[in-house]
Amino acid sequence: MSKSLFDKVWDSHVVRKIEDGPDVFFIDRHFIHEVTSPVAFLGLKSRGLSVLYPERTFATADHNTPTINQHLPVEDPLSANQLKALEDNSNEYGISHWGLGHKKNGIVHVVGPENGITFPGATIVCGDSHTSTHGAFGAIAFGIGTSEVEMVLSTQCIMQPKPKKMRINVNGQLGKGVTPKDVALYIISKLTTSGATGYFVEYAGDVFENMTMEGRMTVCNLSIEMGARGGMIAPDDTTFEYLKDKPLSPKGDDWDKAVAHWKTLKTEEGATFDKELTFLASDIEPMITYGTNPGMGIGISNNIPNADAVEGGVATYKKSLDYMGYEENDSMLGKKIDYVFLGSCTNGRIEDFRAFASIVKGKQKADHVTAWLVPGSHEVEDKIKEEGILDIITEAGFVLRQPGCSACLAMNDDKVPAGKYAVSTSNRNFEGRQGPGSRTLLASPLVAAAAAVTGVVTDPRDLL
């Protein structure tokens, strides 16, 4: 029987099948961070267990770290306590730890691929739902809860029923100003936030084949926002080129052997999917969200839909628009905004900063806009400087901050005040996500840049 990419990777990691139960599923790479791991280590200790394969787990601090003055002690005692717990636990069990101040520190889903920890055909988990990012390399990667973090630490396995399979094809060529973020927001707007629940997605078609690794990571990152556990893209020369010579990628003969194996990880002709959807690239324009979940997105030139035109309950929809302070049929273009956030595991990579700079070059930040530009890692930060992007954004009135998750979930001080509007390149526009009472408009780095210089929601194609 013809196998899909997903089948090949899943089936080769099943240690044992349980009748009318989950598979015992082996995990190749495990990332941990300061927020969802402390209780897992407590669990280990209370059971008297050790870490079975410490060399398969990698720790980085990112969720609650400050994005300025990282050389100073962390002021918030609770955050400092979590960071110290991560460091102590990593040291105690012999786990690699890239804490605050380490040159490899950064957002877990940025530093993993950057260092070659992520590889095609791998199974990767982390106590973070955006672990789906690593699917860009042809890995099965997904978020887990803290109980499962404890399972992986102690046995390198979790218990998972095999999800159903969905293939999403996007064919054709993307228009000017249309980015991978827009492709993802478009798909989510069509599927809703629960449209892919229970499925694992493979993205296929010209658009993904022609995408850079950064773009593929953005798309796979957002798989969870349509309910999918994860999404993946078949590895190809773009993937191998990205991974070659990364610090932890295989070297020499091992590299050649690995690539030979990775090339076999494609969905075979005739493989079947439980669901298959196809979209046209030419139907996609720059996207923006207007509501309180990532499925509430529209093409930037469209108006906010009427309640009766959307799937789901009217009460929930109206509550959402009330929270945002918007009305049905409003145009999004021209809406005043207060904050801009460029960063996160969704759009905190070098390509995102290049895109942002391409718009703001030679212009000035709107006076009333507060902008947080947060690289995903020190490596991204270094490239921003090397490529002259720092000069461009500085001349335009922007300040570059230090790496971390930052305003994506506002666990540190980067909080959008109640009632304020933020155009954000992150992944969730839930109520209060960027600070209590904050209002988030999800968009691409181009849309964020256009809003940052005009102070209102603006079609980036007018500025390119």
Partner: protein
């Protein structure tokens, strides 16, 4: 972490008929800073439950003395968003042992099963019947019978069966967790790991 066994739960229920209740509402990120699992129940639905000055929002259901119980009945796509198990902990620590919805987000459902909160998925029609029954009489009891895999509205007798795989069912009935199982097959896991290329 071991949890209480689940068998038959008969309780009044708390209605929350909103769709797409996400984990950031169940427990906002700023309350994820603990290094121990305690106190999460106090912050369950924090920003829907309290004003900025910590005074209760009277119109939120958890602040309405009419409704109480060990069963939370939510709308479609309950628990979407983040993988934070803290959301399931908050539900459990507040005192709920069962969440009923016509559709659950995947990771939340999994997290619930791992900590002893039973997620019961019912048809949209049955979900409506439960909401109707509770709004008609807040003292309506719901019986969740895990051995029989049924959920019953006691006042009307309406009943539906629900799905849970037999492995997880056995865990819930006995208060076992996955680590107990995995520890027992460590030999198999090590043999498997020895055969891997990377």
């Amino acid at each position: 972490m071991a949890y209480d066994k689940f068998n038959i739960l008969t309780s009044t229920a708390v209605p929350l008929p909103l769709e797409n209740v996400d984990t950031d509402q169940i427990i906002p990120a700023r309350f994820l800073k603990a290094t121990e699992r305690k106190g999460f129940g106090d912050n369950l639905f924090r920003d829907w439950r309290y004003h900025g000055d910590n005074t209760p929002k009277e119109n939120f259901v958890l602040n309405n003395p009419t409704y109480s119980g060990k069963i939370l009945v939510g709308g479609k796509n309950f628990g979407s968003g983040s993988s934070r198990e803290h959301a399931a902990w908050a539900v459990y620590d507040y005192g709920f042992r069962c969440v009923v919805s016509s559709f659950f987000a995947d990771i939340f459902k999994n997290n619930c099963l791992n900590i002893g909160v039973l997620p019961v998925q019912v048809s949209p029609e049955f979900s409506e019947q439960i909401f109707d029954a509770i709004y008609k009489d807040a003292n309506t009891e719901i019986e969740v019978n895990l051995p029989e895999q049924t959920i019953t509205i006691k006042s009307t007798g309406a009943q539906e069966s629900f799905h849970i795989n037999s492995y997880k069912k056995d865990n819930m009935l006995n208060g076992f967790d996955d680590i107990d199982y995995l520890q027992n097959i460590k030999g198999d896991i090590e043999t498997f790991a020895n055969g891997l290329m990377l």
